[in-house]
Amino acid sequence: MTLALPSGPAPAPRRQLLVGSALAGLAGTTLIGGMLAVWLLERQHAVNAGERFPMKYIIPEVATNVMLMTLFGLCFFAQWAVYSARRQDRGHTALALSVVAILALAFINAQAFVYSQMEVELAEGVYGSLFYALTGTMMAIVIAGLVFTVVAAFRTLGGRDWQSEIVSAHALYWYFAAAAYSAVWFVVYVTK
C-alpha cells in the first residue's frame, strides 16, 4: 500500500526573477571585483617599476564622469519604472523603461567615445589588453542590462498578465551595474 501525504495547495515560486537577478548580480560583482584586483596588481607592478599607469594616454574624464552619472540616473528611472509597474500605470512604466534604454545606449555611446579619444593600442603594452578587457566586460554588462530592459518592457507592457516583478528584478540589475561601474570608474579612470 502506498502511503502518500495528503494533498494540499500547489507550491508557488516566490520572487524567482528577483532572487535570480540578485544571484546574477552577485556573480557579476565577483567578476568585476576579480578583474579589478588583477588590474590593481598589475598597476602595482608598473608603479614599483617607476612607471605611471597608464604611461601616455590621456583619459577623457568628462566622458567617464558623465558615464557614471548616466548610470546613477538610469537607476532612478529604473526605480520609477518599478513604482509605476506596481501601480499598473502602463504609460509611466513605458516611459520610464524607454528612458532607461536610452540612457543605456548613451552609456555605450560614451564608452565608444572614450575608446576613440584615448586610442589605446591593444598590442602595445600591458595597459592596452587590461584596459580593453575590463572596460569591454563592463560594456557587456551594460549591453546585457539593455537587453533586460527590452525584455522587461515586452513582458510588462505586451504580456497577457501584468508583471511588476520583472521590472523590480531589472532595477536590481541596474543597481548592480551602477555599483560595478562606480568601482571601475574609480580604479581605471580616477586613480592613476
Binding site: L3, L5, S7, P13, Q16, A27, G128, A133
Partner: protein, 528 residues
C-alpha cells in the same frame, strides 16, 4: 518485475521495425527537455563519460612513464597532464555533483520545476561545448605551455564558456532552493543534500566568475601582445589555482549531502544534529574564498620564528583548515545518528548508496588532509606530484559519491530500484580506485621520488576507476520496479511522489510539518 535494457546489436532491429523514429524522438526530447531531472542526468551522464576519458588519459600518461613507450613527446605529455588535471575538476567532479543537484534538489524542496529551466539547459550546453573545445584545444597543443598560440586562445575561451555554463546552472539551483520550496519546508527543514547543493551553488556563483574574468584578461592579452601575463608558459601562474586544493573542495561538497542524507535512512532514525551538519557543510564552502581571492598557497613554515608561524597558521587554518573541519564535523555526527535510542524498531541496513556516500566522504576527508599537508613548507610538497594526488582524491571522491546519489534517487528518475547486490561491490571497487589513483602520487611527493612503482599503482587505480564506471553503467541499466513510491523507506518529501516522478514532480503536496515528512507518515520504515 525485472527489467533489462536493450542489448547490443539493437541497431539493425531499430531499422527493421521502425523504432528509429522513436529513438530520434527520444534524443530530441532529451536534448530540448526543460525537465530538471533530464537536464541533471545529461550533466551526470557526460560526467561519467568524462571520468572514463580522464581515466584513459591518466592511463596513457602512466604507461608512458612505466613502459617508456616513446609515443608521446615531452610537450605532448605536458598537455596530457593538463587534460588529466583540468578534466578531473571540470569534466568529472563538476558535472557529476552539479548535475545531481539539478536533478534532485528541486524535487527535495517540493518544487514542480527548477527555476529558470531553460537557463539550466543552456548552462549544460555551454558546459558541454566548452568541454569539447577544451579537449580539442589541449590535444592540439593549446594547454599551458602549448606551442600552438591559436589553440591556447581556444582553451582559454572554452574554459570561460564552461564556467559561464556552470554559473547558469548554479543560479538555477540556488534560486530554486530560495524561492520554490513547498509550504512548510523552511530553510531549517531542507534536506541535507539540498543544503549542500545550495552551498555548492553559491560557492560556484562567487568563484567561477573570478575565473571567467581572469580568462578574459588572459585571452585578450595572449591573443594580442602577451605583454601583461606573458606567453602560454606564464598561464601556469594563474589558471591551475582554480583547479587545486582548496578550490576543488567546492566541486565535492554535495558528497557530504549524499552521506548525511542516507545515514539516517539506513538506520531509520531522524538526524539529531541537523544544524551541525548544515554548519559543517557550509564550512567546506569557505573554500570559495580561496577561489575569490585567487590564492591557493598558504605556506606554513614551522622553522620560522614563532610569531610568523602563528600568523601563517591562522591564514592557512581559515582557507584550508575550516573546510577540513567541516568534513570532520559532518563525519563526527554519524555515530550519534547510528546510536540506538529506542525511537525506531526498524533494523539498521547497509544501503549500497550509503556505502558510496560514506566512502566518498572519507576519501574527501583524506583529500582535505593532504590539502593541509601541501601547505606545510617543511614537507616540501609544493610543486610535486602530491598536488595532483590531492586533486585526484577529491575529484574522484566526488565521482564516487555522485554514483551513490544516482543509485539512491534512481527510482525517481527511472522508476527502477537498482540491484543492490550488483551495485554494492562497485562502491568498494570505486573507493579502491580512488585510493590507488591518488595516494601513490601523494606518497611520491612526500618521498621526493618519481619511482615507476607509484606510476604503476596510479595506472592500476585509474584502470579500476574506468572499470567501475563501465560496470556501474551496466549495473544501472536494469533494476526492480515494484510500484512503490518509497522503496528505500527514505525520509524526505520527494519520496511521496510517484516513481518515476512525473515531469512536474508533484500532483499535489501537503504542508510539510517536519524535516522528515515521510518518516512521520511511516515511522516503522516499511516500503510504501
Amino acid at each position: 518485475m525485472e527489467q533489462s535494457g536493450t542489448g547490443a546489436g539493437a541497431g539493425s532491429a531499430l531499422l527493421s521495425d521502425g523504432r528509429i523514429g522513436t529513438t530520434v524522438g527520444a534524443v530530441a526530447d532529451w536534448s530540448t527537455s526543460t525537465d530538471h531531472k533530464k537536464i541533471g542526468r545529461l550533466f551526470t551522464g557526460f560526467g561519467l563519460l568524462g571520468l572514463v576519458a580522464v581515466s584513459v588519459v591518466a592511463i596513457l600518461r602512466s604507461l608512458e612513464v612505466v613502459a617508456d613507450l616513446g609515443v608521446f613527446t615531452g610537450e605532448q605529455l605536458g598537455q596530457l597532464a593538463q587534460l588529466h588535471h583540468f578534466g578531473l575538476a571540470l569534466m568529472v567532479a563538476l558535472p557529476l555533483t552539479l548535475g545531481l543537484s539539478v536533478a534532485v534538489a528541486p524535487m527535495q524542496v517540493g518544487a514542480r520545476a527548477i527555476a529558470f529551466a531553460r537557463l539550466a539547459l543552456l548552462g549544460f550546453y555551454m558546459w558541454l561545448a566548452g568541454a569539447v573545445l577544451l579537449i580539442v584545444a589541449i590535444v592540439n597543443g593549446g594547454g599551458i605551455g602549448g606551442s600552438d598560440s591559436d589553440m591556447v586562445d581556444l582553451s582559454l575561451a572554452s574554459m570561460a564558456l564552461m564556467m559561464v555554463g556552470v554559473v547558469a546552472a548554479a543560479i538555477s539551483v540556488a534560486t530554486t532552493v530560495f524561492t520554490s520550496r513547498a509550504p512548510g519546508i523552511t530553510m531549517r527543514r531542507v534536506p541535507f543534500f539540498t543544503w549542500t547543493a545550495l552551498v555548492q551553488a553559491i560557492a560556484l556563483i562567487i568563484t567561477a566568475p573570478v575565473l571567467v574574468g581572469l580568462t578574459i584578461y588572459l585571452f585578450i592579452d595572449h591573443r594580442n601582445s602577451a605583454l601583461a601575463f606573458g606567453t602560454s608558459d606564464a598561464l601556469a601562474d594563474w589558471i591551475p589555482r582554480f583547479f587545486s586544493a582548496p578550490v576543488v573542495y567546492i566541486y565535492a561538497i554535495p558528497v557530504l549531502g549524499v552521506f548525511a542524507e542516507l545515514l539516517p535512512v539506513s538506520v531509520s532514525r531522524r538526524h539529531p544534529m541537523r544544524q551541525v551538519v548544515f554548519a559543517g557543510s557550509a564550512l567546506v564552502g569557505v573554500a570559495a574564498f580561496s577561489g575569490v581571492t585567487m590564492q591557493n598557497d598558504f605556506p606554513v613554515d614551522f622553522s620560522a620564528a614563532g610569531q610568523d608561524v602563528v600568523k601563517s597558521l591562522v591564514v592557512m587554518a581559515f582557507f584550508v583548515g575550516l573546510p577540513l573541519l567541516g568534513i570532520v564535523v559532518t563525519l563526527l555526527t554519524a555515530p550519534l545518528v547510528a546510536k540506538p535510542d529506542g525511537s525506531s524498531s526498524a533494523k539498521p541496513r547497509i544501503l549500497s548508496p550509503m556505502l558510496f556516500g560514506l566512502l566518498a566522504t572519507l576519501l574527501f576527508l583524506l583529500g582535505a588532509v593532504v590539502g593541509v599537508l601541501l601547505q606545510v613548507v617543511d614537507l616540501e610538497l609544493s610543486g610535486t606530484a602530491a598536488v595532483e594526488g590531492s586533486v585526484a582524491i577529491v575529484c574522484l571522491a566526488a565521482a564516487v559519491g555522485s554514483m551513490g546519489g544516482l543509485v539512491f534517487w534512481s527510482p525517481k528518475f527511472s522508476g527502477l530500484k537498482r540491484d543492490e547486490k550488483k551495485v554494492l561491490p562497485l562502491a568498494l571497487l570505486g573507493a579502491l580506485g580512488v585510493v590507488l589513483a591518488g595516494v601513490p602520487a601523494v606518497i611520491a611527493g612526500l618521498a621526493g621520488s618519481d619511482n615507476s612503482l607509484f606510476s604503476t599503482l596510479t595506472l592500476v587505480g585509474y584502470a579500476i576507476m574506468a572499470l567501475t564506471v563501465l560496470a556501474f553503467a551496466g549495473a544501472t541499466r536494469g533494476g526492480t520496479a515494484d510500484g512503490t513510491t518509497n522503496p528505500w523507506c527514505a525520509h524526505t518529501v520527494e519520496w511521496s511522489t510517484a516513481s518515476p516522478a512525473p515531469a512536474d514532480n508533484y500532483v499535489a503536496l501537503a504542508t510539510v510539518r517536519s524535516a522528515e515528512p515521510e518518516l512521520d507518515q511511516n515511522p516503522q520504515g516499511s516500503p510504501s
